[in-house]
């Protein structure tokens, strides 16, 4: 760049900084982009420097260590501090180059050769190269560390291999072809070898980068770096002056001087803080709170967005596990009802999905008849039937399965026993509790007596995954990636999340066997159109045989203060902060704002 351009750039920068709103004292100035840096340009992004955002969180983050983290709150902070090789753009749901500026896939889909960006530095100024990538993946795959993310790198029981080709080229080899494998790289933060190699060798890796770690010992490639952490209260991130993205006018991102995360508590506390102007962004609102905020006069001008159906699904699952060596005779007896596909189809027909969407989600939700909802635009099977609720159909189905009714309207099974079972759900999830009450009422119209029992979360998990001591449960799934591979373990009959029948050695039914084959097939098929066909058939089988009675999915609701620019919330985690490097503070605060 010519000297005069550089100088004018510098002057512009200073000008922007001085006109910025509430500027954060001592914020690092972004480095002028150097000639030898291979930066990623975002041609549609524009904004100006200065200001900070306050974000409220449900709880406080537990750790800043990307390898050991296991909760969404910590992840929200960690992902602002780190970057991945390939990222999934939350808005388009497609992969984009990140730290890897380009990559080549081999014809059989097993090998990925990635070209890394040259000249980039960590947030402490130390240069980045392929050794950091190798180090990071060796930590992720280390059995002694037991990272929760390790399983993603193990395919068919064999780990990926990572090879260094030169200082800026790395090759990943998979044990077998894996569809959309590049999506795996999103979420694997690249660690600084110069800071973490020693603790790793000393065996104290799990204790590094906790909330007590001084900021000087933490460095990453993300848009922000840690400035200060006050446990229990707030975490302050400041701009990373070496961040490797620039905007349309070659200004180095991020625009914001700082982001402050505060532990605001429950959703209601967050809404209150947002309403009072103490926080600037809010996400995953319930529809009541959304409507409340929309009405609040003081927040007029806030950008409240209803993004449409999320990728979550909520469903009812019946216990079809093999109970032969457990002393659960009562439940085993009831399984004779649950195993009848017509029984499950009858329940499916009797559910008032429209009522659930209206009463639980305040009409900001979508009914679901299959495991993929309309929010997942690339994979949803549009041909799946969406029958209206029909108690007559349900009764027909029950009759053909051998059920009958006694004079007082109770449903009786073939041996004359009344049909009654318990329905468990997590007491901390208010929406599912409401769905349970609605279901209980729906099924009472069929003569079934359903007892709703709320359970604390881990007690629920213990029953559903370990002891199998339950009749039916309302659970949720999803919120991860849109790709079907993320749900392999749910639909494969030997999968570890195959909720209705865990620990199956062989598929118990013909349709489960077919699903096994289809899922295996789609996992190694590289062509999207072919995968879609296979997965469509899977969805069809699921909706016909009803292992889960799908209920509804909430819409993603998010909000931002009117001063927040480039606010583009998305359907995938992290809904509002995925483009934190593009967010900026508008001066004046009322231009282009409005409720959509």
């Amino acid at each position: 760049m010519k000297v005069s351009t550089r100088l004018s750039l510098f002057v512009c920068l200073l000008a922007h900084l001085s006109f910025a709103g509430a500027s954060f004292s001592g914020a690092p100035v972004p480095e002028i982009p150097g000639r030898n840096e291979e930066l990623q340009q975002l041609p549609d992004v524009t904004g100006h420097y200065g200001g900070y955002l306050t974000i409220g969180q449900r709880a406080e983050p537990k750790t800043l260590n990307p390898v050991t983290e296991s909760d969404a709150v910590s992840r929200e902070v960690i992902e602002r501090l780190n970057a991945d090789l390939i990222e999934i753009n939350r808005s388009t749901q497609e992969t984009e180059p990140a730290l890897a500026k380009s990559w080549k896939t081999s014809a059989d889909g097993r090998t990925f050769t990635l070209q890394l960006r040259k000249g980039i530095r960590f947030s402490d100024g130390h240069p980045f190269d392929v050794d950091d990538v190798l180090f990071s993946f060796s930590v992720y795959m280390d059995e002694a560390i037991d990272s929760p993310q390790r399983d993603l790198l193990i395919i068919d029981g064999k780990p990926m291999t990572v090879t260094k080709l030169d200082a800026y080229t790395v090759r990943f080899t998979l044990p077998r072809p894996y569809a959309a494998a590049e999506r795996l790289f999103d979420g694997f933060s690249i660690l600084p070898k110069h800071l973490l190699e020693k603790p790793y060798k000393d065996g104290t890796f799990a204790q590094t980068w906790s909330l007590n770690t001084p900021a000087s010992q933490i460095a990453g490639l993300g848009p922000f770096r840690l400035k200060q952490s006050i446990p229990g209260q707030q975490i302050v991130l400041e701009r990373n002056p070496y961040y490797w993205k620039i905007d349309r006018d070659h200004h180095r991102l991020p625009y914001l001087d700082a982001i402050v995360f505060v532990a605001a508590g429950s959703e209601d506390a967050q809404v209150l803080r947002f309403e009072a102007g103490e926080t600037d962004l809010i996400t995953r609102l319930s529809s009541e709170n959304y409507n409340l905020l929309a009405k609040e006069k003081s927040r007029a001008g806030s950008q409240l967005v209803d993004l449409g159906p999320s990728l979550e699904c909520n469903f009812l699952v019946f216990n079809l596990n093999d109970l032969s060596d457990r002393h659960l005779d009562e439940t085993a007896r009831k399984q004779s009802w649950f195993r009848e596909v017509q029984f499950r189809q009858a329940v499916n027909a009797a559910v008032d999905r429209e009522g659930i969407v209206r009463l639980v989600y305040g009409s900001r939700g979508t009914p679901l008849w299959g495991n993929v909802g309309p929010g997942n635009k690339y994979w949803v099977n549009q041909q799946i039937p969406h029958p209206k609720r029909s108690l007559d159909n349900a009764r027909q189905l029950l009759k053909s399965a051998g059920f009958s009714w006694n004079p007082s309207g109770q449903l009786l099974d073939k041996s004359g026993q009344p049909v009654t079972f318990t329905l468990i759900t997590s007491s901390s999830n208010a929406q599912r509790m409401k769905m349970a009450t609605l279901l209980q009422d729906d099924l009472s119209h069929l003569g079934m007596q359903v007892h709703v029992v709320p359970l604390e979360l881990r007690a629920l998990i213990d029953r559903v995954f370990h002891s199998f001591d339950y009749d039916a449960a309302i659970m949720g799934l999803g919120g991860g990636d849109a790709d079907p591979n993320s749900e392999m373990t749910v639909w494969m009959s030997n999968g570890t999340s195959h909720l209705w029948n865990l620990g199956e050695k062989q598929p118990a039914t013909a349709w489960e066997r077919e699903i096994d084959q289809l899922m295996q097939q789609q996992m190694i098929t590289l062509d999207y159109a072919q995968r879609k066909q296979l997965y469509d058939r899977v969805q069809q089988l699921i909706s016909e045989n009803v292992p889960f009675v799908f209920l509804a999915a909430p819409n993603v609701l998010a909000g931002a203060d009117s001063r927040v620019g480039n606010f583009h919330p998305a359907l995938l985690d992290s809904y509002t902060l995925w483009n934190a490097d593009e967010l900026f503070i508008r001066n004046g605060g009322t231009e282009n704002a409005g409720v959509r």
Binding site: L272, L292, L359, I424, A436, T437, L438, H451, E456
Partner: protein, 346 residues
């Protein structure tokens, strides 16, 4: 004011308070009759409907016989459908219920024709009548609260009496036990209890469980308070005198020491009953409370934990208001009893 007048006022006051309490309990006892609807019936088209207004004035002037309009939902919330007026009737036929657990009947105290609804206190998230739920819920809540309080105070006063009166190692052991009780993590115990109990409990068993769990956990504080009082009252002159006359310990405990603790016990009772009724909210979190669809004041108040409900649907505060009214009336009863006891002692 002369003592005689004070005593008369006290008597009037007690009668008034007893009358209010009796009315409250009768209404709750006859919940099936007084409430117009079944508390579990959902009206899904009418969630969070505001209380129905009783009208006395129509286009043609004043009507002695009040009437209501049917509620409908418009774009901006609930409106009244003024096309037809439904008079309020007495002794109507409505949803069937079991009268005092004895026989089935359909007669309710008041109601309106089926096309309209009379929601005296509005509806909840599922369109269920809050007033009916309030009355039915009061049955189990008040009963459980009273029973749990009785259990707690019974155990607490016995422990406190023994510890305070006999002193020495009995005192040490009992107080040590109470300290143990106070420090244990009851949340874990509740979690464990939930794991051992069968998933579904009948309403009767639920009630017993609630009363026992709450009652057994809370005895430590009243025990300490009672012990403190007994420690001082056992040194009184009349106790020494009674002992000198050869009275046994149990006689002394019963006739002299127990009355000294009465004021503290009454105050504790007044404070524990509402606390136990509200504690059911926490118990439901573990699945140990009254489960859907049955109402109880505790599980109705869990809806109030949401800020949006509190702010937008004020009628949902009904169970809290009912709890306040009940507790305040019990407090006034306790106060009146207490002043009668004092005036008797004076």
């Amino acid at each position: 004011m002369p003592a005689k007048h004070r005593w008369h006022m006290g008597r009037m006051q007690i009668s008034a308070v007893i009358a209010i309490l009796a009315a409250l309990h009768l209404v709750v006892l006859f919940a099936g009759f007084v409430s117009p609807y079944d508390p579990t019936v959902q009206n899904r088209e009418l969630p969070y409907a505001p209380p129905t207004h009783l009208h006395f004035f129509a286009g043609d002037g004043f009507h002695l016989h009040p009437f209501v309009y049917a509620p409908t939902i418009g774009d901006d919330g609930y409106r009244e459908d003024r096309s037809r007026a439904y008079p309020l009737r007495l002794f109507v036929h409505g949803d069937p219920y079991t009268f005092l657990g004895l026989f089935q009947t359909k007669i309710h105290l008041f109601g309106v024709d089926d096309d309209a609804k009379f929601f005296l206190l509005g509806t909840d998230a599922f369109g269920r009548d809050e007033f009916s739920r309030l009355l039915w819920g009061g049955q189990i809540s008040i009963a459980a609260g009273l029973t749990a309080t009785a259990i707690t105070l019974f155990i607490g006063s016995i422990v406190g009496l023994f510890a305070g009166y006999f002193g020495g190692w009995i005192d040490e052991t009992l107080m040590g036990l109470s300290e143990l009780f106070l420090s244990l993590p009851w949340l874990y115990f509740l979690l464990g209890a939930r794991a051992f109990l069968p998933l579904h409990l009948s309403p009767a068993r639920t009630f017993l469980l609630l009363a026992c769990v709450m009652g057994l956990i809370g005895w430590a504080r009243p025990a300490r308070i009672v012990r403190g009082i007994v420690l001082s009252s056992r040194t009184r002159n009349y106790v020494a005198a009674a002992r000198g006359f050869g009275a046994s310990s149990s006689y002394i405990l019963r006739r002299h020491i127990l009355p000294d603790t009465s004021s503290a016990l009454l105050t504790q009772a007044a404070l524990l009953v509402p606390r136990y009724i509200a504690a059911e909210v926490a118990l439901s979190f573990f699945g140990l409370g009254v489960n859907e669809p049955l109402p109880s004041w505790g599980n109705m108040m869990s809806a109030l934990q949401q800020y949006s409900v509190l702010v937008s649907y004020g009628w949902m505060l009904a169970p809290a208001a009912a709890l306040v009214v009940t507790s305040v009336t019990y407090h006034m009863l306790a106060d009146s009893l207490h002043s009668r006891l004092e005036s008797r002692q004076a």
